[in-house]
């Protein structure tokens, strides 16, 4: 809209195997990334860190596991192959320092990826609908 670019990071689900990450970085955040990288290069390399946060309140450090994806080219979105369905994921966008340490810029909303087939949980609970 009419205000300058803000910080936004959305994690959207396409299906049990694919998701879309979209972001918008504010000038301040871009400056911060460049400062952290200690670089003046125009387009600092961005990285996505995808955390499996199933059944946990994610605090940035307690995910079950994570993996990193380099963002290639100048873009504001990334289609992500989801490693396994029926899990909850959260993404982080940032850059990597010389020593490969990840510097966080933005964190996305969590996304529940549905199962891709029938559940193996068999339980019979029955209820009456009240019309």
């Amino acid at each position: 809209m009419s205000e300058p670019a803000g910080d936004h990071f959305w994690f959207l689900l396409k299906d049990p195997h694919w998701a879309l990450l979209c972001w918008e970085l504010s000038p301040a955040t871009i400056r911060e990334i460049k400062e952290q990288r200690g670089t003046t290069e125009q387009d600092a390399q961005l990285w996505l860190r995808i955390h499996d946060v199933t059944d946990i309140l994610f605090d940035g450090h307690n995910s079950h596991w994570y993996f990193d994806v380099p963002v290639r080219g100048k873009t504001d979105h990334w289609y992500l192959a989801v490693p396994a369905p029926n899990r909850v994921y959260c993404a982080e966008l940032g850059c990597k320092l010389e020593d490969q340490q990840f510097c966080l810029a933005l964190r996305s909303n969590p996304v529940f990826v549905p199962r891709a087939g029938p559940s193996d949980w068999v339980a019979e609970q029955w209820a009456n609908i009240i019309l």
């Binding site: 009419s2 529940f112 609970q125 209820a127 009456n128 019309l131």
Partner: protein, 534 residues
Amino acid sequence: MSEKGYLLLVLHTHQPFVRHPEFDYPVEEDWLSEAISECYVPLAEICNGWLRDGIQARLTFSLTPCLCAMLADGLRQQRYCRYLEERIAFLDREITRLKDREELARLARMQQQRFLRCHQIFKDVWRADVIGAFRKLQDCGLISVIASAATHAYLPLWQLQREIVELQIAVGIQSYEKNFARQPLGFWLPECGFYPGLDDLLQAKGIKFFFLDTHGILNGDPKPKYREYAPVLCPSGVAAFGRHRESHVQVWLKDRGYPGDPAYLDRRADISFELDQRYLFSLTHHATTVPTGISYYRGGYGGSREPYDPQWALARCMQHADHFVQQCKLQAESVYAAMGRKPVFVAMFDTEHFGHWWAEGPAWLDLVIRKLACEQDVVRLVTAEEYLQLNPTNQVVTPSMSSWGYQGYSESWLMGRNHWIYPALYKALESCNRMIAMSPSPVGLLRLALSQYLRELLLAQSSDWAFIMHAETTQSYAENRVREHLDNMRNIESQVLRGSLNSEWINSLAGKNNAFADIDLLDLYGRILKNGAE
């Protein structure tokens, strides 16, 4: 033979909100005119036939709020009459042109009769009140009408902004109450798009049931004991019915289903593709090819250059209706024997399939309903509420996120050509929330401006735009629509922030994009925000 199962037929009736008073002959307005002529009038006529003949029919319709908004709009009603009158007059010329080809002239007369009948029903019988016609059918107990989201937004992709999902639902329910003078029990989720937790929002609004594609039920947690042959109860207590795939395949698919039969009218052989555009101009008003809704050739989806033979088509329709009823009975007997409980087969279709995509669809449906109601007692026609009254005990299952779109999830509405919509509209809602926070109790022109902002946002959310971009049909129109609504929002926002509202422009915009003008959007949304904050 005793009753072994149920058939629940659902016709999802929707058109995106298209209204262009700024143009004399906008092509996209024909979508609604075609739907009324080819689907709504014939379907309402067959329903009235059941009523007249005492047929115990049961049919469920969804009528989306944006469709109802167009049906109730004076300009659209007036333009629909013009659409019919132009075709009736044009077909006089066609009958003269075809005087040496009696086979085709007869078909031109038949098409003219069809438009004359639509004109008579729309103008003289319904007095332009299509919604009223469906309301009366519901009041007679023949059909059940369910509610839907305001502008047919594909809700799974808006779940990040719960407040706008709630507004889509709340406007849908208020529109239903105004149009059908009762509270809705059922809700049609646009594109059958569901995510766990959406049922809570429906439950909070008094909704008792909704419909999903098959895998939404089959992939539920825990595994549903009766597959899609019985509804499940979400943890919220709302029932979810799953689509029966076999009925869908027979009736819907062009390659394996009934509509591809060579006896049926080939809608793609529209006369606009073969006749001179200058000759057609009085009908199309454009120098390019614009479908007229008139065709003379048979061939189903296969295509042919043979003139349509209505008698042959009717004979095939009867055979296909027999086949469908026979299949329903066989499946009911076989599933009942395996399950020990009467299955419910939920057959769900876009209403446009019956009449627009498949010209003989209404006739086929008429035959199926009459056969099911009068000629057998194995399968009983029901509405969802009747089924739940008869079978209130159901398994508690959380359905899976799903849709009835391509591949069963969000791909049609989230891919390379359309994903730009979402960030733009997410930010638009954030802007709206900021403006409302700055002016919590707006009055006068500011209130009108903020209401219009919400209206523009809702209109931009229609799943149709993303779908059209995906399908690459009328892509530029869909893109322009989203961009136009975004521009309007941007303009309103900048005027609000400057504290200088252009009264003439805002009033003119509110008059043009006038969907839900009788609903206080700002009040509804304010209550949603307040409840969310508590």
